[in-house]
């Protein structure tokens, strides 16, 4: 089993979707229990990664490789490093919670919803495991199909617009990456990422490839100015879709930078690091202000996701500046490590925030902030969780949101205090929009008669929010296991940054 652990992780949920689909719309409960069983099994299998993966040595482990297309030298090649392991655990964990979260909420064709979720989960795990560029691309694109369906069928009123925009935007980004990958293949004769990393390329070639990769992953992260699909997709997606989108799918953009831009085009990445850093700072500051004026709760959290993901790209590319210009690998490691912690933490916090909004939406069927007020009076337990996640969202020490952002700001300070200054703006703006949201939704008098009738969270919702809360706190006060898991991989990535290809 351990020889094919990664394959098992990918294909278990995908294969599990078939019986769920066969359960049909006549037996919704069977479909629900089956999908929960599959999701729990997948999570259980993913836990084996922790003992199987050796965090001390780092590098790509648990490798599997089979010839897929001999004529093109394409391999079905999988392997993981510490970063992938962390992201896979995040995926399988969130996978359970979205299925529990959708238990009663999705009444229309629940079997198709659950099946799409499971397929999506399997494909996302595939993205985190693939070490062959074409295989990566196949997973990367294929996961659009279930997400397209999820938003389109179970979404809000403008779901069709949002889901088409989401699909076309992402497809547009990635097809240029495909052309870049074909170019690399024709040069190297393989799609193997490890070989591509050692392929010598001129700065001009690297620059073209860098932008091909940048557009693919910038759309996914999303970075300013190609972030506009995200608020639409988040607002219209069903709660589960938003959670997966924010918690896992955005991370694939950041992950893509690590797997493609850093090792394959290091010189161009260093050359254009200023551009990415600039865009990240715009995301942190400007998008933070945009979030402030939102009237829709989901849109507000969506924009705050863009701002938080700005820290991920900032952390990754500030490392270039530190290594190439100052030779300061310790600070570079700190920045990279912070970016990774931020990815995981944002997965939990944004997933939790969207789950909270889902709880409110199920009761009131509105996401507008002005329709709420005084929710704490009728839903005290809900208020407890909401405030906790809001604190994590603005990066309060003791929550997971603090750890990553703090590390990235520290690293930025070593590179350039001005960058750190702008990045640190998030502590003010983030607090502003989050606290103001909490104030308007939770505190105050009950002004709306519908709010007065709301019931506090039930057991199922408590389970979902409680699980998120536990992880937010654990990572906040004791991030060491997470950082240890990723440490050697981050160190190796930072070593790659220093390698010149031209």
């Amino acid at each position: 089993m351990f020889n094919h652990l990664l394959s098992l992780l990918i294909w278990l949920p995908v294969a599990g979707a078939v019986p769920v689909l066969l359960a049909g719309s006549d037996r919704p409960n069977l479909a629900r229990w089956l999908s929960l069983l599959v999701a729990i099994l997948t999570f259980a299998v993913s836990l084996f990664l922790i003992p199987q993966y050796n965090g001390d040595t780092g590098g790509m482990q648990l490798a599997e490789s089979h010839v897929w297309i001999a004529a093109l030298n394409v391999h079905y090649a999988l392997a993981v490093d510490g970063i992938s392991v962390a992201l896979i655990l995040l995926t399988t964990f969130v996978g359970i919670l979205v299925i529990i979260g959708a238990w009663e909420v999705i009444q229309d064709k629940p079997h198709q919803y659950m099946a799409a979720m499971l397929v999506l989960e399997g494909l996302m795990i595939g993205v985190f495991c693939a070490t062959d560029a074409l295989l990566f691309y196949v997973f990367f694109e294929a996961m659009l199909i279930p997400m397209f369906i999820l938003i389109g069928i179970w979404g809000g009123p403008r779901r069709v617009y949002a889901t088409l925009k989401f699909f076309i935007y992402t497809f547009m980004g990635s097809i240029f990456m495909l052309i870049g990958l074909i170019y690399l293949y024709l040069k190297a004769g393989t799609f193997d990422l490890h070989t591509l990393a050692t392929l010598p390329l001129t700065l001009q070639e690297q620059s073209w490839l860098f932008f091909a990769f940048l557009i693919a992953f910038a759309v996914k992260v999303p970075m300013v100015p190609v972030h506009t699909w995200l608020p639409d997709a988040h607002v219209e997606a069903p709660t589960g879709g938003s959670v997966v989108l924010a918690a896992v799918m955005l991370k694939i953009g950041g992950y893509g930078f690590l797997r493609f831009s850093l090792p394959i085009v290091p010189d161009a990445s260093a050359h254009f690091a200023w551009l990415v850093i600039l865009l990240s700072l715009i995301a942190v500051v400007y998008i933070g202000y945009v979030a402030l004026v939102q009237e829709d709760m989901k849109k507000l959290v969506a924009y705050s996701s863009v701002a938080h993901m700005g820290f991920v790209t900032l952390g990754i590319f500030i490392a270039f500046m530190l290594v190439r210009e100052q030779g300061n690998t310790d600070a570079a490691r700190l920045g990279m490590q912070g970016a990774m912690v931020q990815m995981i933490s944002h997965g939990f916090v944004s997933g939790a925030m969207f789950s909270c909004i889902g709880v409110l939406y199920d009761r009131m069927h509105t996401r507008l902030i002005k329709d709420y007020g005084g929710v704490i009076n009728v839903m005290p337990w809900f208020g407890f969780f909401y405030v906790l996640f809001a604190m994590a969202n603005c990066g309060l020490p003791g929550t997971s949101g603090f750890v990553g952002e703090f590390m990235v700001i520290l690293a930025s300070f070593s590179a350039n205090p001005w960058i750190a200054l702008f990045a640190a703006f998030t502590l003010i703006i983030g607090a502003a929009y989050t606290l103001w949201l909490v104030k308007r939704v939770l505190w105050g008098e009950v002004t709306n008669s519908h709010v007065a009738e709301m019931k506090d969270i039930n057991g199922r919702e408590t389970l979902v929010l409680g699980a998120f809360a536990a992880l937010v706190l654990i990572i906040g006060v004791w991030p060491e296991p997470l950082t240890h898991l990723m440490d050697s991989s981050v160190t190796q990535l930072v070593q790659l940054l220093a390698i010149h290809k031209v």
């Binding site: 196949v138 199909i145 076309i168 495909l178 074909i182």
Partner: protein, 480 residues
């Protein structure tokens, strides 16, 4: 004098001609109540046996018959197998549709088999005359098939349009052939290839080449010679459209390969930019005009035009790698288009043509399985992994880049994004829209149709995961 060996090489073709004649006689003499069923299964059996004959006695390497008129090689073998396979699927999909409309007549089967014989001769042609003969056999049968529903104004209009434009294109081709003959004094493709460098009239040759390319572009349906495609696709009975969208595309690729790669191989520098221009125009016109279509058959017609643009991307490479990728594309397109039209046929019934995009509203609620089949077709046509269509696109893009035409690959990529929209629109209609009140979806009860259609659509997924052997087979055909 033809030898016994010549006849042996052409056994599959001779056999099909004989079988078609027998079917024609059977149609005349069988009692009316047995005619439909007998002809249907007999035709399918005839084609299956045809596939066996093509594959079973495939000689190693290339052999020629009748003084080089007829070539039997790996390329011809693959194209013939898939042309026959698609025609079998067409027979299965077409039967309930035609019998609902009282169009299930013996001529349908014999004309189809003759058209397939035309395809087979065309892809095996070793001589310009043979190219023309095969093409005419295919197109003349197709004209009659399009007019099968003679009481329909739309069908008759489509048939006339097809005939007039088709005749014009055939004339162009023939004119080009005569110029090439005048410049080189030979009709044999291999001799033509050798004669081109020594020709004293290179200008005449280029003129001939241009006219031949017009003929090829017309048969492929590449812009700006695409005018007939939308009308014929929409006007012809869907049972005939499904055929026109499959096997003749394989034939058109075969014809382009024989004429350009073998015959005019010495003039690559002339035909390469011409094909590139055709490709760009096809991609642009096909994808842009498809966006505004409301009729699914017409939408698929414009999508055909764009797909032929991608196929040309492979041909532009002008090397074994390019030809194999273009052939792979032609095969993938034939399978995808057969499945997509198959879904339309499966949902149509007496008095109702399920061909407007709005007819598919809410299909997922009415028939989730059919909706899923159509979803596979649409994502495959759009080129989204892990479906077959993506890998076909990957290969032609790679061929174009390898030929040093990065700009062409980028054009192909940009239009893939634009094309994505209208395929997604069909999925949106099926999955996200509510079904129209008062309408219902009734699937054709024909069991073989359902099985064949499901297999056809699932193959797009299976070949998306396991396309190595097919690619290997295609590459093998162009080696040496």
């Amino acid at each position: 004098m033809p030898t016994f060996n010549d006849i042996l090489i052409m056994v599959p073709e001779f056999y099909l001609v004989a079988a078609a004649c027998v079917l024609l006689l059977a149609d005349a003499f069988l009692p009316a109540n047995q005619r439909g069923v007998t002809l249907h299964w007999a035709s399918i059996f005839v084609l299956i046996a045809g596939i066996y004959l093509v594959v079973a006695h495939q000689p190693a390497g290339t052999v020629t018959a009748f003084n080089g008129m007829f070539i039997r090689d790996g390329v011809a073998e693959i194209l013939k197998v898939f042309a026959l396979l698609c025609t079998i699927l067409v027979f299965i999909y077409a039967r309930p549709y035609l019998s609902d409309r009282k169009l299930l007549v013996g001529e349908f089967y014999t004309l189809m088999i003759f058209a397939v014989i035309g395809v087979m001769l065309l892809v095996s042609a070793g001589n310009l005359i043979m190219v023309y003969l095969g093409l005419e056999l295919l197109t003349l049968s197709s004209y009659a098939l399009v007019a099968l529903n003679r009481d329909s104004k739309l069908s008759s209009e489509a048939a006339i349009k097809y005939f007039v434009l088709g005749a014009l294109a055939s004339g162009m081709l023939l004119y080009g052939i005569s110029m090439v003959y005048g410049a080189t004094g030979t009709l044999d493709l291999v001799q033509l290839h050798d004669a081109i460098p020594h020709s004293s009239m290179p200008h005449l040759l280029v003129f001939g080449l241009i006219f031949m390319i017009i003929g090829i572009a017309f048969k492929l349906g590449a812009a700006p010679f695409h005018m007939w495609i939308p009308d014929v696709y929409q006007g012809a009975p869907t049972a005939v459209t499904v055929f026109i969208g499959s096997a003749p595309k394989l034939a058109a690729f075969g014809m382009a390969f024989r004429l350009l790669a073998i015959g005019m191989g010495g003039y690559v520098q002339h035909w390469q930019p011409m094909l590139a221009a055709l490709a760009v125009l096809s991609l642009a016109i096909g994808n842009l005009v498809a966006i505004v279509q409301t009729n699914l058959k017409r939408l698929l017609a414009y999508s055909t035009i764009s797909h032929m643009g991608y196929l040309l991307l492979g041909l532009v490479n002008a090397g074994p790698e390019g030809y194999s990728s273009a052939m792979f594309y032609a095969i993938s397109y034939a399978l995808m288009s057969t499945a997509a039209f198959g879904v339309i046929l499966a949902l149509s019934r007496a008095g109702f043509e399920c061909e407007e995009i709005d007819d598919f509203k809410g299909l997922n609620q009415r028939s989730p399985w059919m909706a899923f089949m159509m979803l596979l077709c649409m994502f495959s046509l759009a080129g989204v992994p892990p479906l077959f269509g993506f890998f076909a696109k990957l290969l032609v893009l790679q061929a174009a880049i390898h030929a040093g035409m990065m700009w062409l690959a980028i054009v192909g990529a940009v239009f893939a994004i634009i094309g994505l929209y209208y395929y997604l629109h069909v999925v949106k209609v099926m999955y996200f829209d509510k079904p129209v009140e008062g309408t219902e979806v009734r699937l054709q009860p024909d069991f073989t149709l359902r099985i064949a259609l499901s297999l056809n659509a699932l193959v797009l997924l299976v070949l998306g995961v396991y396309w190595g052997p097919l690619l290997g087979w295609c590459k093998q055909a162009f080696v040496g």
